[in-house]
Chain length 398, copies 2
């Protein structure tokens, strides 16, 4: 890719994302919906301007989702999150088990073989933290009790989804899976989050106080971003996901006196990089595959199963006093992890091109389902809960 | 390049640049000097962490220099620049002709053939706008009369350098060059700047007033960046350089009421991207080539010729009342265009590996020469001239 082509693609992404984001808000929808539509339009199946598998687009999109989760972490009060921990955990577990079972059953009933049905079920497990957090943030609902449960559950089920991914990858490759392997993956994934937050809370405040003194308050945002990138790498090495590490870095920095300065810079970087991620997600959609009625039928059946499974998960914490339907709806969007399952299955020959497109339809449909429905549900609810001062407005500016 | 490697390289660039930038300032030097040293250390000949020819590094570095020139343009008052136009033009012309003649003579005297000597002379013509503007900005001297002459001259001689490039490229390729070709290239390159500024002043204020109204003041920085990228592309299509287009975009936006909002966002983006450019420039240096005494001798001779040529150019506008030595010293750094000449000569076989390294030594030496000398000269001078409110501090934060 030459410099000229890179600049052209970047301008196309930024202008389309901001324009359609504005249009979405004008019709009462979150801006992220407009950015996803911008991606579909710019993607391979329509205009062909943005190829999400092109190295530069892929790398900048990953940087975008890391910055987004770092921002969300910087806004997350760990105490508030722990207070809803049991609710979040139950939503996460039910929201992984139920969609997996439903997805497997639907796929098998529609004639897929066992392995393909397993891949289909697995692709339906993990809520997209990025999309869900962005939708809640666009609607100013990240700090509501429901928002906190959803955020916690989405982080937990992303970790669960990665465990499912590790197991299914072995099954698809024809290997044996013991209970010990599953227990090991689980411990590694959750262990990272715990160790990262405990270690981070011990070391990071001192480090950033030193950086602020040495640099006279400058370069803090760039240092915060470096921390987030390193934490993302550590998470991946520990068998967790990049975005979990970035989120942990934000959570660790949140109570420090430097958090506000870091955030002010990071939000500006987010204006540039976060839309690249959502446009890339949209650009991965191939709208032409749905011309085949069998693909369309399978995709729609999986979509319905995917929505119902997560809606039911919202009702799992029967003791939670918030609006359970809001939690369920907010858990619906699938994203990166679902796409990874679909691609893995396609690459290994476990699913064919038609089933792959049906899985994409499910992922895409869940992503487009939540923003308007959530917006409708929240219109008549109580007023939004305020977050840390000055922050809600900054993030809604993205 | 995988995501993990990209994140690692990015962290290495950012941390090393900010750390050595801070060290440079502690010892009384501009931060950019530390960033260049960070690049040399991270580059292929020492640690091997940063490869400036890797696609992602190259593209982000180009984005960095475009953002830098856009920032500089946003701070440039066209009227003030026009007021020193004749001084700037004379510095530029003498600063292209004299180093070309001196470089050719030195190379020829040291035994290079005619074509290699032409390449050597050509590589010495263009001052690096990016490095020079950054040094002046680090020292708070961008708005001094001397700073304005240097900025204008550096923009003009970059255009002249590109014309020389077009001519030399044909000579190296063995083609004929007529006076008409040279006149055509010249008209195209200067024509772009004039047309862009006139057209831009007509269209851009209305467009940005509309964008500010429609988007309620949001997304202005991203729209400003998009304008800069499009102007950069237009400049390249017109036979000029990317950075000239980005500079023109900034100059056009500068008098609009939206300039400040654009600038606030762009400066933040600059914190991230501009160091990538300077680290990439430093990383291109192969320190091992200087083990050969003949390479070292040629390089040092070209370096002395390169410094003397630009110093003399500072005295060309005899009517200019500022400090001519300051202008001359500030014109010394060569950068991108010099490196392009060296690479073109190497690729075409016009210069060998040894001569190539000598040219790199000249480029590198001029870049390291200016910051400390300029800092020394300015220490006892009059106090710096203030720029537009609040802007000098923001840029010095980079």
């Amino acid at each position: 890719v030459g410099v000229s082509e890179f600049f052209l693609v970047l301008v196309a992404i930024l202008v389309a994302a901001k324009l359609l984001g504005e249009v979405a808000e004008r019709v009462g929808q979150p801006a992220v919906l407009g950015e996803l539509v911008a991606g579909v339009i710019l993607g391979a199946s329509l205009l062909g301007v943005v190829d999400p598998e092109q190295e530069i687009v892929h790398l900048l999109a990953e940087l975008g989702v890391v910055i987004l989760l770092f921002e969300i972490g910087l806004e997350t009060d760990l105490k508030k999150l722990m207070a809803v921990g049991s609710s979040a955990a139950s939503v996460a577990v039910v929201g992984v088990v139920l969609p997996f079972a439903l997805g497997y059953a639907v796929a098998w009933a529609l004639g897929l073989d066992t392995i393909a049905s397993l891949v289909a079920g697995a692709a339906m497990t993990a809520t997209s933290v990025g999309i869900t957090a962005r939708v809640l943030s666009d609607l100013g609902r990240l700090h509501d009790p429901e928002g906190q449960v959803v955020l916690g559950a989405a982080v937990i089920d992303d970790v669960l989804g990665l465990i499912v991914l590790a197991v299914i990858a072995r099954v698809v490759a024809g290997g044996e899976v013991g209970l010990g392997d599953v227990a090991g993956s689980t411990a590694a994934a959750f262990g990272f989050l715990g160790v990262a937050i405990i270690l981070g809370r011990l070391l990071v405040p001192g480090l950033f106080a030193l950086l602020a003194r040495v640099g006279r308050g400058r370069a803090l945002a760039v240092m915060g971003l470096s921390l987030a990138l390193l934490a993302a790498l550590a998470a991946e090495l520990a068998g967790s996901a990049l975005i979990i590490g970035a989120f942990a870095a934000g959570v660790v920095l949140q109570p420090t006196p430097q958090a506000h300065a870091v955030q002010a810079g990071i939000v500006r970087l987010g204006h540039l990089f976060v839309p690249i991620f959502f446009v890339a997600v949209g650009a991965a959609v191939d709208v032409r595959a749905f011309a085949d009625p069998r693909v369309l039928a399978l995709g729609l059946a999986l979509l319905v199963a995917g929505i119902l499974g997560k809606l039911a998960a919202g009702y799992a914490p029967w003791w939670f006093r918030g609006r359970k339907l809001v939690v369920g709806v907010a858990m619906v969007p699938r994203g990166e992890v679902g796409l990874i399952f679909a691609q893995m299955g396609l690459a290994a020959g476990a699913v064919g091109a038609g089933e792959y497109s049906a899985l994409l339809l499910m992922v895409m449909g869940t992503t487009f389902f939540t923003p308007p429905v959530l917006r409708m549900l929240l219109k008549d609810g109580p007023p939004p809960t305020e977050g840390p001062a000055g922050v809600a407005e900054m993030v809604s500016e993205i």
